[in-house]
Symmetry: none
């Protein structure tokens, strides 16, 4: 793809890039082509595979792929969209569990950092591909932004559940800042944004601990 995309519906749910609701045999073959494509994307990179390979690996004909997807680009987007849906679900579950288990902010913050890190870590490989692609494909970046915004809302809401413990009065603002800083730090450590210069701190576990501590101190003690 020469780094440009057509008109474009802004949503990246699997339905917007795939073609028809499938069932039975069709659904199975759709699954096989998505799985084959995902495998290749993870091994080689977002676009570094051929449809020939997907056809072979997924035991589907080339024509079948074009029956479901308008283009190779849309196949790539579908793989990403699928993963983003799984992540959103995991994130929601995680957040509910963390809130339920945390009596106060001091319990919440480290647990949240740790759990969020784990969710991201589990999905890191495809998340990385998703973010790489988002850097030039609006059909991926737009819905990605939506999703990030909903993550922020959920996290901010959870923190504000402990607002009685907050210091100062810019509660929401501070919660937002905390979320951004947490996400940025975790993403970087998991090399989501890129691989390059991350992971130089000997102890990643340690950074997570400091991150929780920092946010806790910030929310409770910064004016």
């Amino acid at each position: 793809m020469p780094r440009s995309t057509k008109a474009a519906e802004p949503m990246l749910v699997p339905e917007s890039v795939s073609r028809q609701p499938q069932q039975g045999r069709s659904k199975a073959s759709l699954g096989r082509m998505l799985a084959a494509a995902e495998k290749l994307m993870l091994e080689r990179g977002n676009e570094e595979f051929t449809l020939q390979e997907v056809s072979k690996g997924g035991k589907v004909s080339i024509g079948s792929i074009y029956l479901r997807f308008e283009s190779k680009d849309n196949l790539v987007r579908a793989v990403i969209a699928n993963e983003l849906e799984r992540i959103a679900a995991d994130e929601a579950t995680m957040m509910a569990e963390v809130v339920a288990a945390s009596a106060d902010l001091a319990a919440f913050m480290p647990r949240y950092v740790e759990s969020y890190a784990e969710v991201l870590r589990q999905h890191a490989p495809l998340l990385r591909l998703s973010m790489q692609r988002a850097s030039f494909d609006p059909l991926v970046s737009e819905p990605g932004k939506q999703r990030a915004f909903r993550s922020e809302e959920a996290a901010v809401a959870a923190m504000l559940g402990y607002r009685a413990e907050f210091c100062g009065n810019r509660h929401e603002q501070k919660a937002k800042a905390a979320f951004h800083i947490i996400f940025a730090t975790l993403a970087r450590q998991l090399s989501l944004g890129s691989t390059g210069e991350s992971a130089s701190l000997r102890d990643w576990a340690e950074l997570k601990a400091e991150l929780g501590r920092m946010c806790l101190t910030y929310l409770k003690q910064a004016e």
Copy 2:
């Protein structure tokens, strides 16, 4: 490049990817080809240009390019290496100025965050390319890590200059954590890691302020 790299010398100084110390006319034409390549990379992306275009834009023959660089990949790496050197220089200057102007940690932290953000912002476009490429090219990611490590050392040293004000006794560890968190947050906000999901906080200026405040509180008050 199909995501693989040959032998691979681990350094990415301009000399390791370029061929020989140039002089006079040769040096000028080397400059023109680097400038032409950089322009194209910024306009289109890391590899989305042809050597034909570099040849035209830089008024150098294709043969000349291969006289200086073993491959197109090495040309790309040289452009990146050049920029990384400029960044390192700017960063060192910036750090010296910030330290000189800051009497205590409360003065240092916000000024450092602000100034570092500015340095990164100025170099963001090529830095973005550099990080994209680092995600699959060890010849870019390895030296990138080195450079990041030196940035960390400098920042940690600067913060430790104010260690008397630190709370607790894990001084170095906390300084390292602060640096990581600052860098990750700034990088993300500048879309260095990718573009996708960044920049959802209304006020980027505000995030920088919070970031400084958070680190300050953390260093001075977290046990």
Copy 3:
């Protein structure tokens, strides 16, 4: 079709390319597919359409098309054959009227040229497609020749009805020549043979008049 044709029955009546005498619903759907194909052929060219499109436009399944026609080629031939039948009918009617209305050769010739031109003009679009296809498909060119031969016979017979006025004694030969020249000139002017270089005479009406005059003079006065 890569310019080759199988076995090949030499007739191109609709029955030879279609499969069975249809009736009721089937006949209606046959009509719809022929109409849809004709529409597409006129819009885009002889083969520049897909069966998918015929299926959609004619509200018939792809399978249905293959139930009636052995191949896409035969569908195209059927569209052409249908049109050729319509033309033959129009031509016969036209000829009868012209003869009935013409007392002598001086009345007949211009009227015939004019009327024949009108018949060809009305059918020009499909006639053009027919002739394009005939250039490489014997299944179209062979029956086309038959039809042209019958046109010639009818025209020659009509002219010979006025043989008393002919000069010289190679009556039939001259009538044939006149027919050929008339047909060739009209066909060219209507861009039947191709589009290219036709229609450069300012006044097409004028050319028809000259054509009639020329043939009249030729038949009555050439030795």
Copy 4:
């Protein structure tokens, strides 16, 4: 080609579709690719060949073809343009000879018909391809029209050289009509416009004779 063409310079001289004036080895390889393409076009039809085949047959690399021609379409156009130039030259020579050898119109007309028929016959195969292509490619049809117009001018001028013998006073008009009728008849007989329904007159030699006679009678005796 999906039957549409870009902006388009209206001329179809070899220079407008080819890329650079060649010399030496380059010129030879350009010649080989044109010859190979022409051979394939004559065997199969205008576009019914692959560049792979041209590469093999002409002993040139695919890349070389694209070095000379922007597209396969332009290669086809170049083959046609070359032939059109040769035809124009032959036609001019022929016309000069015919005029030089003809004392009066009675000598000129049959000789002209005969000679023009011969020129067209010699070039018939490629001329046929040219006209087929012209039916949908303006880059071929436009210059084709120009060329036809110049043919008309030359023929009309030649006939008017004998205007003293003309009857009536619409001299130019009649000469034009005669040319059109001659060209149309010859073209049709040579199956230039298509193949289909031509050549049904037993004796093609005879038709040419009648054609000459008809035009002669027309010019000298039609009022």
